[in-house]
Amino acid sequence: MQVTLDHVTHTYQAGSPFQSVAIKDVSMTVREGEFLALIGHTGSGKSTLAQHINGLLKPTEGRVLLDGKDIHEKGFNKKEVRQKVGLVFQYPEHQLFEETVAKDVAFGPKNLGLSDGEIKERVREALAKVGLDPAAMEGRSPFELSGGQMRRVAMAGVLAMRPQILVLDEPAAGLDPQSREDMLQLIFGLHSQGTTVVMISHSMDDVARFATRAVVMAEGAIAMEGTPEEIFSHAEALEKMGLDVPSVCKLGMRLRELHVPCPEEMFREDQAFETLLKLWKGEDAHGAQ
């Protein structure tokens, strides 16, 4: 399954004196099975873009296609999009509202009109997927959990819809290093099991580690698109846009400035480890001759 944005423009409060264009003439496709990173500043339009993927926002101009069909056409079942494309907002724990974890996670499946038995099964499955013990958690109030646990419950609430595409807006924001790593591993795990992932992220190290493809947004338009390798080989351009690059990329750039022959494709720690070792050994061997 894939979602295509076809020349999408979105203007907030169109026609009022406060109108502002959030994204302009954006065309892109979320391909089945990929881990797509959306990169850009706050205000670059990436959150607006993400909200078009599941039809929450309707383009002012252009079309959004789910497997080729226009989701805003009359007669298209919106619930189908909402079910197939799950959206996890920033700080999703702020949307919890039920008395118990189980009820909260059940909210989505209930809205889909599933049977009680089916709902129960999905709640258990979703809680297990986010690494929480269903038996221990189901009866608890979501408001007495720790921040990290609350976020997992909120994510389970989306996973219980069994989405094929999962869109996440900065899923690790505000978490401490260990919870952050756990969250990223969780998402990576879902991706490995076949879920298509679209992740908005500010951390280039995370993008370098997990993404199969990245789209860079700037001022409401797509500024760059490609594999992390391709994107980070334009480190200078990224820095010009005021975006960060992975720290090993920075190291590479600095080394080249110092005339150390460091190759450009180095953006993950593993690569840096091997590259630097080779550099050192090469030079060492050369020096011994």
Partner: protein
Amino acid sequence: MAEPIISVEHVSFAYEEDAPLAVSDVSLTVERGGFHAILGQNGSGKSTLAKLINGLYLPGKGRVTVCGLDTQEDKNTWEIRRRAGMVFQNPDNQLVTTVVREDVAFGLENIGVPTEEMPARIEKALADVGMLAFAERAPHTLSGGQKQRVAIAGVLAMQPEAIIFDESTAMLDPRGRTEVLEAVKRLNREQGITVLWITHFMEEAVACGRVHVMHDGRIVLSGTPREIFQDAEKLRPYRLDTPPMARLAQRLRAAGMPLREGILTVEEMAKEVERLCK
């Protein structure tokens, strides 16, 4: 060591009588003009410690003094809060009024600064954090980083000797984090304002003069960033990160590359690789 501004002596604190201790037998001194970081995961007690310092909480055991004033004594409360200001985590939840200029005035009004003195102090404070151009704006039209800088200006206008930052960058994007941290570093450098920087981002702690690692309500490690970060193994039990360059250096050293000890930044790493490879 220079004269201590903040002094915490064997302080313990629990939120309720028989609840577990949130802060347990902590001692800490921050000297005048110092820039200290407290690093710890969520729930390590670091925010509680911050609130103990400016008298929002009072210690169950031990003593907290700010500029020699004991937080336990009622009459000191307002003087302590003026001298050791505080900036919190959520940029939306600490600005009080609808106009930036008036928000900066809020603290001044509270401590009874004469009206004639206010405009100059407000303007200087806003200029010091680079927000003077936004004086007439409404807070909700600003970015997270800008809101936090307004919050800093609000504290700064009260002419404090120290500012405690309680995870003030945790909710910001990278640009906002840089903006705020740069502003704070400048205040520390140019105006000698003592800073206690509470965070769970180790990249931020790297820039500080001294780092204290908190875990389970206790300070478990204290030292210069170099002492703290060069050994990833030491930090692992506290569920904290090490800087990427320190981690990389450690792996390379383990593989036999003779990198010097104590590498934390990209620049240090680059220089060291250059030395070894040329």
